[in-house]
């Protein structure tokens, strides 16, 4: 664990959130949250229900406009409120309540995920010139690879809505990976999974990181986060109360208080 964190200390910063704030009416969902994610690490974001984890995700991926602060990604500022541009810059995400294209096949879902990295327009589609045909074949090939990668290749032609819960989670990850992201943001991927499913998910996430994609993980399953993440940040009432390697975070009195609702002393 310590060896891992010492290598990540020397790594370049991929994501740098500076003083991000977001409120809904009078409710402060995020107050001055700053955190940095380094290239190649698995970064966990935890916190009790309503702590602002998903809000942070939505600001990061451009679904919400922040009320303060800014996020820098790979050295450049992310434009707020433009989810499609965020995806093109290299941040892909999954959703807490799985958001697949239910009436498209698993294959088509992943092919849509490739949108940000492809270019064919109406004219290309109608004329079907060799460039468009090659691009289309490449999309299909990549989608097949990704379905293999997440282990649901046998369900390629099934409608996304008919996949099992675990497979839907995997499909969402495959769709996100289709945009060749630099940062993969997973919003509670293990929610509702049993022990075996969680274990195979853990292996999948580890594999994704080892293949070079940085991972940001929101998760309730503390065991999964502590075993998987290189560094963890804890949010409580919209504020970051701790950021460190898991073994230290676990012992932090503020974190224990946030989770157990009172001082243990």
């Amino acid at each position: 664990m310590s060896a891992r964190s010492s290598t990540s200390a020397t790594r370049a910063t991929l994501l740098d959130a500076r003083g991000v704030a977001k409120h809904f009416g009078g409710v402060k969902a995020l107050a001055n949250v700053s955190l940095t994610i380094k290239q190649g690490e698995i970064y966990g974001l935890i916190g009790p229900n309503g702590a602002g984890k998903t809000t942070f995700f939505n600001v990061l991926t451009g679904l919400y406009h922040p009320d303060g602060g800014a996020i820098y990604f790979a050295g450049e500022k992310l434009e707020a409120s433009t989810p499609h541009k965020v995806a093109q810059r290299g941040i892909a995400r999954t959703f807490q309540n799985i958001r697949l294209f239910g009436n498209m096949s698993a294959m088509e879902n992943v092919m849509v995920g490739r949108h940000a990295r492809t270019h064919a327009g109406v004219l290309g589609a109608v004329l079907s010139d060799s460039r468009t045909r090659n691009e289309e074949a490449a999309i299909r090939r990549r989608a097949e690879e990704l379905l293999h990668y997440v282990n649901i290749a046998d369900r390629a032609d099934d409608l996304a809505r008919n996949l099992s819960y675990g497979d839907q989670r995997r499909l969402e990850i495959a769709r996100a990976l289709a945009s060749d992201p630099k940062l993969l943001a997973l919003d509670e991927p293990a929610a509702g999974m049993n022990g075996t499913e969680t274990e195979s998910l853990r292996q999948l996430i580890e594999g994704i990181r080892n293949d070079g994609t940085t991972v940001l993980l929101i998760e309730h399953d503390v065991k999964l986060v502590m075993g998987l993440c290189d560094r963890v940040a804890v949010l409580d009432y919209g504020e970051k109360i701790c950021e460190d390697i898991p073994s230290i975070v676990q012992k932090d009195p503020k974190v224990i208080e946030a989770y157990l609702g009172g001082s243990l002393a």
């Binding site: 995806a87 092919m111 849509v112 949108h115 809505r161």
Partner: protein
């Protein structure tokens, strides 16, 4: 059903598909001669109209079927195309542009109107979008009705008469064409022109459906937020759906004006929008063959009832009890209700849509929304 299954089977059998295409081509080519000799020219006229409605239904299918944007004012684009032809090729302004100029111009202008409708409604979906588009359709019709003062542009409710028949240079489709000693009557010539354009639109739609853009449209229909997160610029892609759909309507409108020789605002009322929407929904939303079938059936059915209601009543009761003209819409309504009851997914749905309605769903997606 057996017929539909054999069509599905053809998709996997290449030689069979080629043979079927050749057969279909021959059938479509001799069709007008068969119709006009066995029935009458009025049925051929109906066939010509069916082609126009196929184009309209395919255009609306892009907006409603693919992108999932409920458009209740689609007929406005048909009106734009029709009035463009009426103004550019009639005695009204004394302009006489040939058809090959007006068809692209009609597609472009209707496309522009599509974007004009799309731009302010980007954030709307479902019922809300339906109301705004319905208003748009009415606005266009009311404009046509009132643009006769202070400057007379559309000639108001009287409509524009004296529209040129469709012509290419000296070649006019109003007169029988003599071609290698073979005479093609006017209605037949219109049939071939409409068929060619309908086939072109079918071709474009099929190509679009299986493309990156087509997938983006369906993705927006399925989940707009997820589509955005996949890097789809939903604003542009939705505007593109409105524009493409509208341009097909514009082309159909141009042909309609040239064929009819007369346009008036009455031809573009809400009922027409509803009719085209019915073709899309009844045929099988999002499935190209289904939508084509819907266009044909809904053009044909009211005419069949109109022609059939009288003779059938005389045969049963010995006299005509109910006016066929009144009975026609009644029966038509009944047919719509029956189809929706027994085949809610449409007469010829896409395979995925059929599964969607068969309730194989695990409903995981609906939970926790």
């Amino acid at each position: 059903m057996a017929l539909l299954n054999s069509f599905e089977a053809l998709r996997h059998d290449k030689r069979g598909a080629i043979a079927a295409t050749v057969m279909l081509g021959i059938l479509l080519a001799i069709f007008p001669f068969v119709i006009s000799s066995t029935f009458s020219n009025s049925w051929l006229r109906i066939a010509d109209f069916a082609m126009l409605y196929i184009m309209l239904a395919l255009g609306l299918n892009i907006v409603v079927g693919f992108a999932g944007l409920l458009d209740m004012g689609y007929i406005a684009f048909y009106a734009v195309g029709a009035y463009l032809y009426a103004l550019l090729s009639s005695t009204h302004f004394g302009l006489h542009f040939p058809i090959w100029v007006i068809i692209p111009a009609g597609a472009a202008l209707a496309g522009l109107f599509g974007a004009l409708l799309g731009a302010p409604t980007l954030r709307l979906r479902g019922d809300y979008l339906a109301i705004v588009t319905l208003g748009f359709g009415e606005i266009v019709r009311i404009f046509m009705n009132n643009l006769n003062a202070p400057i007379n542009i559309t000639n108001g409710p009287q409509g524009i008469t004296g529209i040129d028949p469709i012509h290419f240079g000296n070649l006019s489709l109003a007169k029988p064409l003599t071609f290698l000693g073979f005479t093609i009557p006017s209605l037949h010539a219109y049939y071939y022109l409409f068929l060619a354009l309908a086939l072109f639109i079918i071709f474009v739609t099929i190509r679009l459906e299986n493309s990156r853009i087509g997938r983006a449209w369906v993705a927006i229909r399925e989940d707009e937020i997820a589509a955005k997160s996949c890097g789809i610029n939903t604003r542009n892609v939705k505007l593109l759906a409105f524009t493409m759909g509208a341009s097909f309507g514009g082309v159909a409108g141009v042909l309609f004006a040239g064929f009819q020789g007369f346009v008036s605002p009455e031809s573009f009322n809400l009922m027409e929008s509803v009719m085209v929407l019915c073709m899309v929904v009844l045929g099988g939303m999002g499935n190209i063959p289904g939508v084509i079938l819907g266009g044909i059936l809904l053009t044909l059915l009211p005419e069949l009832f109109r022609h059939g209601a009288g003779p059938v009543q005389t045969a049963i009761f010995g006299k005509i009890l109910l006016d066929p003209e009144a009975l026609r819409m009644l029966l038509f309504g009944l047919a719509l209700v029956l189809v929706m009851l027994y085949r809610p997914e449409g007469i010829w749905p896409s395979t995925t849509r059929r599964r969607e309605f068969k309730g194989e769903s695990t409903d995981v997606l609906k939970e926790g929304e």
